[in-house]
């Protein structure tokens, strides 16, 4: 049910995506993440429109991590930060990270090398249902996305929601 990818530029890295809905223990998970006992980035699934969005965020995070130039302190927070269209870290974590009453959660795990974590370890910690990514369109909140990314109607005429989002994610440091 989870999706696994290899980053083209970093073939030694594997990215695993897991989607959960009807989550009841978001608060607990958030605390665990802050303590560092969950080795994945916890993301508000309503702000995700396609796995590609997460791959782009993860790729940039790993790139900066390897250069020692991340803007945040950990790879996981960097992934969350990269989803945001602006450069405020706290705002990014608030909007794209999870809050205590979120019910749809997406977890992104980046692993290097041979060691592969057992997804069950993560799934067992989530009090909710793991679902396939086919369900993502039902979870995505397009209105909130348009507002957060400040998408213009002119832009939507020339491309998809995903394309507008990716563009903003990748060029936010030069605008």
């Amino acid at each position: 049910m989870q999706l696994t990818y290899q980053l083209d530029l970093f073939p030694e890295c594997t990215v695993t995506l897991l989607l959960f809905c009807d989550v009841k223990n978001a608060g607990e998970l958030r605390k665990k993440a802050m303590e560092g006992s969950i080795n994945g980035a916890l993301i508000n699934a309503t702000m995700v429109v396609d796995p590609f969005q997460l791959l782009v965020a993860a790729n940039k995070a790993v790139h900066l991590h390897k250069l020692g130039k991340m803007k945040t302190r950990t790879l996981c927070t960097e992934i969350i930060f990269n989803l945001s269209p602006n450069n405020s870290i706290s705002e990014a974590l608030k909007k794209f990270g999870i809050s205590d009453n979120d019910t749809s959660i997406l977890i992104v795990c980046v692993e290097e090398g041979e060691k592969r974590m057992n997804p069950e370890d993560l799934v067992s910690q989530v009090d909710g249902h793991q679902v396939s990514f086919d369900k993502l369109p039902e979870i995505t909140d397009e209105t909130k996305l348009r507002k957060t990314y400040k998408l213009t109607p002119r832009e939507e005429k020339i491309g998809t929601l995903l394309e507008s989002i990716i563009c903003r994610m990748s060029t936010k440091d030069v605008l």
Partner: protein, 273 residues
């Protein structure tokens, strides 16, 4: 000029200066970190080179190399502004970096204004590589015009295309984006061509400017490129300008500048005669 507090083991000996200060361990740490950064940078640059080598090289220019391949599951075009050995290294880095940044910025600005241009997937500032969407299933306006000339020579089709081009360029200039290298090879038509879905590409020489002069030059470059690549298309270009003029809110001064430049150019040509 504070003395650095010693913690734990005495690595990096404290050298007593005349005032009793230690050689700042901090400085040594910083130099160490700098060296690490440089190593990391070089390692990542090599990684980029290795990755690009595995892709299909599409174009080798003086400024950049263009590759095609897959990136994170999508068809992508990667533009690499490689180091130029004939330039001073610091200058080279700054120039390549600046041009990469300008290109990314122009692309984003276009999209925000509803002008079709490739999506930016990733910007690698360490190697000055731009990872862009590959516009598949398309042909250049250049090839389209040539195919029409060869097959059917339908003036109506060219007229519609000209009008569309004028409209898109008007939008571009109204956003104060100067393309810098307008040619019919830098404009793509997504299939089916009848839809006239025009996409601008190669913003490598682009910059932001509100000056009518700069916009005039942009159009002038296109005129020269147009007429040299596609003979007997003077009417087509005039239609383009007409469309540009009616679509753009700021076209008056631009066309005036263009006119001035054309006159100067004609005078110069006459002198060369």
């Amino acid at each position: 000029m504070a003395a650095v507090p010693e913690t734990g083991s005495e690595e990096g000996e404290a050298v007593a200066g005349t005032s009793g200060l230690t050689v700042p361990k901090k400085q040594e740490h910083e130099r160490e970190r700098e060296r690490e950064r440089e190593q990391e940078l070089e390692r990542e640059r090599e990684r980029s080179r290795d990755f690009l080598q595995s892709l299909e090289l599409v174009k080798q220019g003086a400024e950049a190399r263009v590759y095609r391949g897959r990136f994170l599951g999508r068809a992508a075009v990667i533009k690499e502004r490689f180091p130029k050995r004939y330039r001073h290294p610091v200058l080279d880095m700054r120039l390549s970096r600046r041009r990469t940044v300008q290109e990314a910025r122009a692309l984003m600005r276009c999209r925000r204004a509803g002008i079709s241009a490739p999506v930016v997937f990733f910007v690698d500032y360490a190697s000055n590589c731009l990872y862009l969407e590959d516009i598949e299933e398309s042909l250049t306006v250049r090839d389209y015009i040539q195919s029409i000339h060869i097959t059917e020579s339908d003036p109506e089709k060219l007229s519609l295309l000209a009008r569309k081009m004028g409209q898109v360029l008007a939008q571009l200039h109204d956003e104060d984006v100067i393309h810098g290298d307008l040619t019919t090879s830098n404009m793509l038509l997504k299939l089916p061509v009848e839809q006239l879905n025009l996409v601008l590409i190669d913003f490598g020489l682009s910059f932001i400017s509100a000056l009518p002069e700069d916009k005039g030059v942009d159009l002038y470059v296109l005129e020269k490129a147009f007429l040299s690549t596609h003979p007997n298309t003077e009417t087509m270009y005039q239609e383009l300008l007409k469309s540009y003029s009616s679509e753009s809110k700021k076209s008056g001064p631009v066309l005036k500048k263009l006119d001035e430049r054309s006159s100067v150019s004609e005078i110069l040509q006459g002198l060369q005669g």
